[in-house]
């Protein structure tokens, strides 16, 4: 049935192209002949299934969510979807007492992650890169929090911060009436308490990323700077750190993603009560569960999408520009 095709293609490959003019045509024909029916089906299957999945799971859902943001829907029956225009957004920006704090907390989340655990992770990576004794042990210890799921981390830290029986309050004696420090509930404290837990995990993540980056730094660079008489700090500042540029980009993107998708830790910690509201939690509270304010929740999701795009688009433009230049 298909026996002649492979032979022909072998021929096409074996016979050298006689001239430049016919070369293009030949290749085109050969290309077509290379694909048997089975190949095409396989190819269509391999490209088609991921495409369908991608379209259905990413594009259709994203577009549906954007459309739903302009409607009011309780999730019961498709005929109850009502078009309300920009009402949801109007309510969100003017009436919702949790919305602006949530945006603010997402921003604080990012700023804190980039200012504290990221440099600290870099510091640890530099120390571990020096081949000190037991470096594997330290590496594992610092990386362990990254392996644990955020929900578990939330649970563990919640035990530490518990106002009555928690580790901290028990040690400093702040679990008596009149002396309470409410780490989980006090809106002035709880975001920072959660951020300590988030940083604890993020440090390990950053450490591994930087450690991988440092391993790929050419040792001759260090040698050269040592020969030039640079001290350790100078070497790091002027030689090593600049070569870590690709790692820094990854770190930045990872941190932004972490800040925008922050959810599980807080949800387990105190369900996003006052002081720890986050956009992702507002979306969940409005859509999932019995409340089913699907239109309104989608509007919040669209705001989150919009913020992500503001961050991601410049990054993609910069990356593509670099690729084009290369």
């Amino acid at each position: 049935m298909t026996t002649d095709t492979p032979t022909k293609s072998q021929e096409a490959a074996a016979v050298p192209p006689p001239g430049r003019a016919s070369e293009k045509k030949r290749i085109q024909q050969g290309h077509k002949r290379l694909l048997t029916r089975r190949d095409r089906i396989t190819l269509a299957f391999m490209a088609g299934v991921p495409t369908i999945l991608h379209v259905v799971l990413v594009w259709v859902t994203a577009l549906a969510s954007i459309l739903l943001a302009f409607t009011s829907w309780d999730g019961i029956g498709f005929d109850s979807i009502k078009w309300v225009g920009f009402d949801n957004f109007h309510q969100l920006f003017t009436d919702n007492p949790q919305f602006w704090p949530a945006v603010q907390h997402n921003v604080i989340w990012f700023v804190v992650l980039i200012l504290i655990p990221t440099p600290f992770g870099l510091f640890l990576a530099v120390q571990l890169d020096k081949k000190i004794r037991f470096s594997r042990v330290y590496q594992t210890a610092f990386f362990l929090p990254v392996v644990i799921s955020l929900a578990c981390i939330g649970f563990v830290w919640q035990l530490i911060y518990n106002p009555d029986t928690g580790l901290i309050n028990s040690i400093i004696g702040a679990n008596k009436p009149g002396h309470y420090i409410d780490w989980i509930g006090d809106p002035k404290l709880n975001l920072w308490a959660v951020l300590i837990a988030a940083s604890w995990r993020h440090t390990g993540y950053m450490m591994i990323l930087y450690l991988a980056g440092l391993k790929s730094v050419d040792p001759s660079l260090r040698e050269a700077s040592a020969l030039d008489g640079a001290n350790e700090w100078q070497t790091f500042k002027s030689v090593i750190f600049p070569t870590l540029r690709p790692t820094n980009t990854v770190v930045l993107v990872v941190t932004i993603i972490e800040a925008l998708r922050a959810f599980d830790l807080v949800f387990v910690f105190n369900k996003g009560a006052q002081g720890t509201e986050l956009l992702s939690i507002l979306v969940t509270n409005n859509i999932i569960g019995e409340s089913s304010r699907i239109g309104y929740g989608s509007a919040i999701a669209v705001v989150l999408l919009f913020i992500s795009l503001i961050v991601i688009i410049p990054y993609l433009i910069a990356t593509f520009r670099k690729e084009r230049r290369a």
């Binding site: 049935m1 298909t2 002649d4 095709t5 022909k8 024909q29 077509k32 002949r33 694909l35 048997t36 029916r37 095409r40 089906i41 269509a44 490209a47 088609g48 495409t51 369908i52 379209v55 259905v56 259709v60 859902t61 009011s72 309780d74 999730g75 019961i76 029956g77 009502k82 009402d87 309510q91 009436d95 919702n96 007492p97 949790q98 518990n162 106002p163 009555d164 009436p177 009149g178 309470y180 420090i181 409410d182 780490w183 989980i184 509930g185 006090d186 809106p187 709880n190 105190n270 369900k271 009560a273 006052q274 509201e277 409005n286 999932i288 569960g289 019995e290 409340s291 089913s292 304010r293």
Partner: protein
């Protein structure tokens, strides 16, 4: 089909076909809600000897108690009950899609607005014919709770429990405290407890719903059942001075609440009552579940929330009621009727109560002889009530209570002085939520 040597006319999947495939997959995704929820229910057949039942009683004790009821029913009628138990919270969160998909014939649910909502959406079947037979078993207040907005019955209650102020008899005896029946006596008692080094009112609002219980108590004591009901139904303004007065009363006793409540669960707060560090606790009778020591449990007692407005006295009791509903198109209609009828009998209730002693039977005919002292008192309190409420999140729209009231009340507890702004914010949000239907 033969392949031409050139391969040009291959009927393989073209780009257009792929797109078409994607399109139909998208349609599938659109229909995904019922499809997904279909996964939840067990493949119940239309076997006349089986009734399927979706249950939210995932905790070991109630699960076993329910299983005993079904076993007794099977023995009596020969109809098997195919139970599909889901985690309590998950069941509640998925209820919308569950009822729209292929739900079980019968499902466990709550009385009140939350039941009426699904009845009005045609996601439940009326069961007036069942009530024609079981009606005599229930007091009038229970009958009211089981009706939809259209006046038809949709619900068979099984058990109920009261909200009240819980205390330790031994503590009151040792310190010579008296059970307060008026607001002033209550505030005086709080002051006294504080000076005696006790936490006057145990409190934990980490889960955000316990505060709603306190609001309910003060509101129907101060403004009466009718106002409370109509406020919950979105018909009154939250900016009404009557509502403000509720928060003023609350602010008066707030200094006597346990510190650090925002980060404390109700279980931890209950432990302070167990260890006699706290004097009182406003909660449902399920607080008894935390008293694992028999001696402690026997020492536990409760009294009704004190009178604030003499026009209403203590005539209203908050008594959330759990029971059963029938889904929109049950497969085994006759079997379902028989099961619902059985669930409405005192026998079914006494089987349940044997296993769970923190609640009381909804029926007025259930056997009360095996009740503990606490159950007897709860029973008297509920059957003597002029009005029964469910709970804020059962009497009002769940979207309103979960997205507006829970954070709103937490905000009040943190900053009682900002109440005016808070109430106008609640009112604005209430208007949009209640207008959306």
């Amino acid at each position: 089909m033969r392949i031409s040597p050139s391969g040009l006319h291959l009927p393989g999947p073209s780009r257009r076909n792929v797109l078409r495939g994607a399109g139909s997959a998208a349609l599938l995704a659109g229909a995904g809600i019922p499809l997904l929820s279909a996964c939840g229910s067990s493949g119940s057949s239309s076997d006349p000897k089986t009734v399927s039942l979706g249950s939210n009683s995932s905790d070991a004790v109630p699960k076993k108690a329910f299983a005993e009821i079904y076993a007794a029913f099977t023995k009596q009628s020969g109809i098997k009950v195919d139970v599909n138990t889901k985690d309590h919270n998950t069941f509640q969160e998925q209820i919308n899609s569950y009822l729209q998909g292929t739900p079980d014939d019968v499902f466990t649910w709550f009385a009140g607005y939350r039941m009426q909502f699904f009845a009005a959406k045609n996601l439940a079947s009326p069961i007036d014919d069942v009530w024609a037979k079981i009606g005599d078993n229930f007091p009038d207040a229970m009958k009211q709770l089981s009706k939809g907005e259209d006046g038809k019955y949709y619900f068979v209650p099984l058990y109920t429990y009261p909200w009240a102020i819980f205390y330790r008899k031994s503590v009151f005896q040792a310190k010579g405290y008296e059970v307060p029946t008026t607001w002033d006596a209550f505030v005086t008692l709080c002051k006294k407890m504080k000076s005696d080094g006790l936490v006057p009112i145990a409190f934990g609002d980490k889960d955000a719903w316990p505060a709603m219980g306190t609001f309910d108590q003060i509101n129907f004591r101060l403004n009466g059942y009718d106002f409370h009901k109509s406020l919950m139904a979105g018909k009154e303004a939250w900016t009404d001075p009557k509502v403000k007065a509720v928060f003023d009363h609350w602010a008066e006793i707030l200094p006597y609440h346990q510190d650090g409540f925002m980060g404390r669960t109700w279980q931890d707060a209950a432990q302070t009552l167990v260890s006699k560090k706290a004097g009182m606790y406003v909660l449902g009778s399920f607080v008894a579940q935390q008293f694992t020591n028999k001696a402690d449990l026997d020492d536990l007692d409760f009294f009704a929330f004190p009178e604030i407005n003499s026009a209403f006295g203590q005539d209203t009791v908050e008594a959330p009621t759990d029971g059963f509903m029938v889904s929109k198109s049950p497969k085994n209609h006759d079997g379902v009727l028989k099961l619902m009828e059985y669930l409405g009998t005192p026998e079914a209730e006494s089987i349940y109560l044997k296993a769970d002693s923190s609640v009381v039977a909804a029926s007025s005919k259930a056997d009360t002889s095996s009740y503990t002292a606490l159950q007897k008192k709860a029973y008297t309190m509920i059957s003597g009530a002029k009005n029964l409420t469910q709970f804020m999140d059962r009497d009002s729209r769940p979207d309103f209570t979960s997205t507006v009231m829970q954070p709103g009340l937490q905000k009040f507890l943190q900053d009682p002085k900002g109440i005016d702004n808070l109430l106008s914010s609640i009112e604005r949000q209430k208007k949009t939520i209640f207008a959306s239907q």
